[in-house]
Amino acid sequence: MTVEPGGATTAAPASQPSQPTQLTQQAADPSSELIQLLTPEGERIDHPDYPVDLTAADIRDLYRDLVLVRRIDTEAIALQRQGELGIWASLLGQEAAQIGSGRALSPQDMVFPTYREHGVAWCRGIDPVKLLELYRGVSHGGWAPEEHKFHLYTIVIGAQTLHATGYAMGIQRDGAVGLDDEGREGGGGGGEAVIVYFGDGATSQGDVNESFVWASVFNAPVVFFCQNNQWAISEPLEKQSRIPLYQRARGFGFPGLRVDGNDVLACYAVTKKALAAAREGQGPTLIEAFTYRMGAHTTTDDPTRYRLAAELEMWKLKDPIERVRVYLARTGQADPDFFAAIDEEAKKVGAGVREACRTMPDPPPLAIFDNVYTQPNAILQAERDQYAAYLDTFEAGEGAPR
């Protein structure tokens, strides 16, 4: 038997070898609340702590973000199937967690992602082609972090939580904490905060726990945004923790809360509040966005080997995009023309992604030697010269290893 938030239960088929997700403490623990502002059916709920100050236009914009981000993700999966990408880490199902939190950021906040935050990258204005570069094997990260206030993808699980915490300690030393919008030193609006993304599996890593220690002890302005998508490749949540993840923060001495990760409005509101608290000098918050990894861990993973089809079906009913569409349509905040226009735009975005990916050139061979150090290094320079001479000994057109 599994117990889902909201109390629905599903039976586990006897033939399946793997364990379904369990949240046994969920129902019993009154503090294990799931903050939700928009139900899967598209109904609005009010929460006393999280007023929603979004207009109809804002919500239509969120809908557009969700649809386009999903489209990019789907295109990338197809491109991998055609051999144009080595792998792709799909965010399917997690769009609301990323768009909601991403749109809650102020321009001056800094983001430290993992390697799946394509939705947050979208919010930070990063061209999707730059994400494809990494998965195509053309670069390890093609955008300028400070330009977009979005750090490069970090593949080592959890390592970025320490970087985010250190960055936040730097913000403190710059005096950019505890300012109101007008009073920021040196101009610009408001204090700065950091948000760092990581998954449920990452919470087991030493570095993540060390970052909780540091952030709490130094009261650093960092929001820890955990997308609990229930699975770390093939390992379910209960392999990572006996208690709901958001409750971990209590052990370190800072607030933790759980939000419906498929509810873009709730994710937006909760993140906005946590960022404001950080900016104002109240220190870190742990947000657990309760969501589901609808796709595979990466395109080479086969989830059918370790999870139940029934579970997937159940989460389909909680689709993050569908509930927004239903809400907008039912309340008259969007008409059929609007949805058609978004679909049309999605098609164009998709075509653009395909074209950009297929025409992406490989870097020249000698680029291997660039950007290792800031100062010249004689040993490396010698290797570069040697390799260039070596390549030159081959007949034209035979310059690359086969």
Partner: protein
């Protein structure tokens, strides 16, 4: 000129660095209030404050990881790892993140982080306090690795390391912390020997002895002992302090070996897969026609560091170094 111990020279160098650049921070376990277990950061927190002299939680990976974050924010953190054997929890942050960030970002990001590590044996310690892990870091592209050997170099190199925009692993020979040396504290850093260069600390004609860190002093003592006429006849040993382990100053090394025709490398780290192997391979390839004998290496055994009662057998001393010199003349 002032006479300073090596640890005091480091202290003075760190002080100057903190004065020169408000972005410089020092962070590590016990570095602030206590001034460091070897007193290298003594008195600095009082003068520069807690925001810049940070007593960190007991978490080496955390120290380096947050230093990376601070560096991304524009600061120049100088981390202290309390003892060589405790750097290992931080190796992931050093190797996977610190070393690779510039390359990963195609040059857009640089991490001017210095990691100070007291290293080496000879202090009669329990386990994990006498290691020489420099080969791990020399083998990691993206890091600069240096080792100071005396007070003068300590004073200069720590400031050069802090000014470098590349991440630097800075090895300090802990058993030499109390060795005194003459330091020109007023000398201009711009005229100092660059951090990536080796130095011929004693000229000689018969054999080139390459070494670094704690064994520089031992090598000088060996060279002086070898000059005396004795049963083996006097030998003129040229001692070269490598100073920079990555990159190696091959120009100075090769010039010396081509003059003498013989080469011995001495380090505390185990000989097996140690830095001496890299040096020997390069010297052999580049100086092949000049060599009268193969390059010989003196170093620790292929064992974990022994209990302190046995460490004198493990560490290369004057006799072991001169034995290697004798052996090069046997070809």
């Amino acid at each position: 000129m002032t006479t300073l111990t090596l640890s005091k020279a480091l202290n003075e160098g760190l002080r100057k660095a903190l004065e020169d650049d408000p972005k410089v921070l020092i962070m590590g376990e016990d570095v602030g209030k206590l001034g460091g277990v070897f007193r290298v950061t003594d008195g600095l927190q009082k003068d520069f404050g807690e925001a810049r002299l940070i007593d960190t939680p007991l978490a080496e990976s955390g120290i380096i990881g947050t230093a990376i974050g601070l560096a991304l924010r524009g600061y120049r953190p100088v981390c202290e790892i309390q003892f060589d054997g405790f750097v290992f929890p931080a190796v992931d942050q050093i190797v996977s993140q610190l070393a690779k960030m510039r390359y990963r970002s195609l040059g857009k990001l640089s991490l001017p982080v210095v990691i100070r590590i007291p290293c080496g044996g000879g202090i009669g310690a329990v386990e994990h306090h006498s290691e020489s892990p420099e080969a791990v870091f020399a083998h990691t592209a993206g890091l600069r690795v240096v080792a100071c050997a005396d007070a003068a170099d300590a004073f200069t190199m720590i400031r050069q390391a802090i000014r470098s925009d590349d991440p630097v692993i800075f090895f300090e020979p802990k058993r030499r912390y109390w060795d005194k040396g003459e330091v020109d504290t007023a000398a201009d850093l711009a005229s100092a020997l660059p951090m990536d260069r080796a130095r011929v600390v004693l000229e000689g004609t018969d054999v080139t002895l390459l070494t670094y860190g704690p064994l520089v002093r031992t090598s000088l003592e060996a060279a002086l002992a070898a000059r005396e006429d004795g049963p083996g006849n006097g030998r003129s040993i040229e001692v070269v302090d490598l100073r920079s382990l990555s990159p190696l100053d091959t120009e100075t090394i090769f010039a010396s070996v081509r003059r003498t025709g013989r080469c011995v490398v001495a380090h505390e780290a185990p000989v097996y897969a140690g830095l001496g192997a890299e040096i020997a391979a390069r010297v052999t390839e580049a100086c092949f026609y000049h060599l009268e004998a193969p390059v010989l290496r003196v170093g620790g055994f292929a064992t974990p560091y022994p209990p302190s009662r046995l460490e004198e057998h493990y560490l290369p001393d004057l006799d072991r170094i001169l034995d290697a010199v004798d052996r090069t003349f046997g070809y």
